[in-house]
Subunit: 231 residues, 2 copies
């Protein structure tokens, strides 16, 4: 009971902007983690009821998600989670590779011990998955958190916004392909990237951080291409 009370009190305290962010992040994550897979129809009314508010603020969130490219709003039909064709997927990955390289070149920030601790935490979480074959959802969450860490290391604010935008636009598609790679490959691949990036971070070499990130995006594309050709 106390927990519930404390929870509702903290919810009452939040401003309109904070609530907007909370609901926006919640829905974004549901889309990116495939709680709402591509094609899902979202209803303003139902979500308004779920969050205990009216349609108006939900509509605002929907329009932002549409701007991010995560949903498509159709009058009279509904708001649907978008899918991405392979051509666009590759275009975004090509772009992300370049943006990753730029991360270390445009106004880089100083790497602190906090950053190192954060990535150490991610590595620990990834290593802990060795005995949990098939925990793709935790793998995706770690990828989310790694992206957040890399955002912190991107000093050029507009560049950071774009990198995030492109990340969230394809995250769910990447997540869709993940199981097809097989658990071992996906798991070891993530551990590998985390290790490379950590090494670059302890050297305070943001340029290398971006470089490894770029390489890993290319690796993803290559593996995907192999997957699409062979079977």
């Amino acid at each position: 009971m106390n927990v519930i009370e404390a929870d509702s009190v903290s919810l009452d305290d939040e401003t309109g902007a904070e609530r907007f962010d909370r609901i926006y992040c919640e829905l974004r994550d549901r889309i990116c983690l495939l709680t709402y897979p591509p094609g899902t129809v979202l209803s303003e009314t139902k979500l308004a009821k779920e969050f205990g508010i009216s349609r108006t603020p939900i509509r605002r969130v929907f329009h932002r998600l549409e701007f991010m490219g995560l949903v498509q709003i159709k009058n009279g039909v509904g708001t649907m989670v978008t899918d991405i064709d392979l051509k666009t997927f590759k275009q975004i990955y090509d772009l992300r590779k370049r943006l990753a390289e730029m991360m270390g070149e445009l106004s880089p920030v100083e790497i602190t011990s906090e950053h190192i601790e954060t990535i150490d935490g991610l590595i620990e979480r990834a290593q802990a998955l060795a005995d949990h074959k098939g925990a793709f959802d935790e793998l995706a969450r770690i990828a989310n958190d790694l992206q957040r860490l890399l955002s912190d290391l991107t000093g050029n604010a507009p560049l950071r916004e774009m990198i995030e935008l492109m990340y969230y636009r394809v995250a769910r598609i990447w997540y869709t392909f993940l199981p097809q790679f097989g658990w071992d490959k996906a798991h070891s691949g993530q551990l590998n990237e985390l290790g490379e990036i950590r090494a670059a971070m302890v050297d305070s070499d943001i340029r290398s951080v971006g470089h490894y990130r770029s390489i890993d995006l290319q690796r993803m594309l290559t593996q995907l291409g192999r997957l699409l050709v062979e079977p």
Copy 2:
């Protein structure tokens, strides 16, 4: 009277989405062409009256403009046209230089005779300004149209979106500085860029188009730096 009738008929025919785009572009251009200079407070109610609609669709436009970084919405205060500090301005220009280079490298499109005709039209308009000292607004409109042409030449759709986003985010600031450069420098500079880009286009060399664009953005930064140091 007939004109008014025809006008109102065409307005009645447009869908909600078309009206949204029309009003969005209208307000965006008013901001970029300094009809609403930075700091201007926009009122939902007044604009709703001006366009003959209710606050709701205007709010949608406002939220999009906020996402584009052109306005800031403050509860209880109003919706204000944003200003940009010099640090952010430089960050965006650094980013735009890189994006311009990428334009020719990521999935370039084929240059058609239509594209050539378009830039020839722009060059004509710019040359026609030789006898109109101080027509900075037409200079800005030509720059807008050039940006639109370059968008057409950008095959990578997400990259195109980003280039446009960053263009509109700083366009009004660039326009603010323009008169300080002096008419002759601003005018000849634009003619120069148009000529360079046209030459690259007739060679079907999009890579060079992007390169010249990048160079011109750097030139702008250099001139601005000189302006900020000397006086």
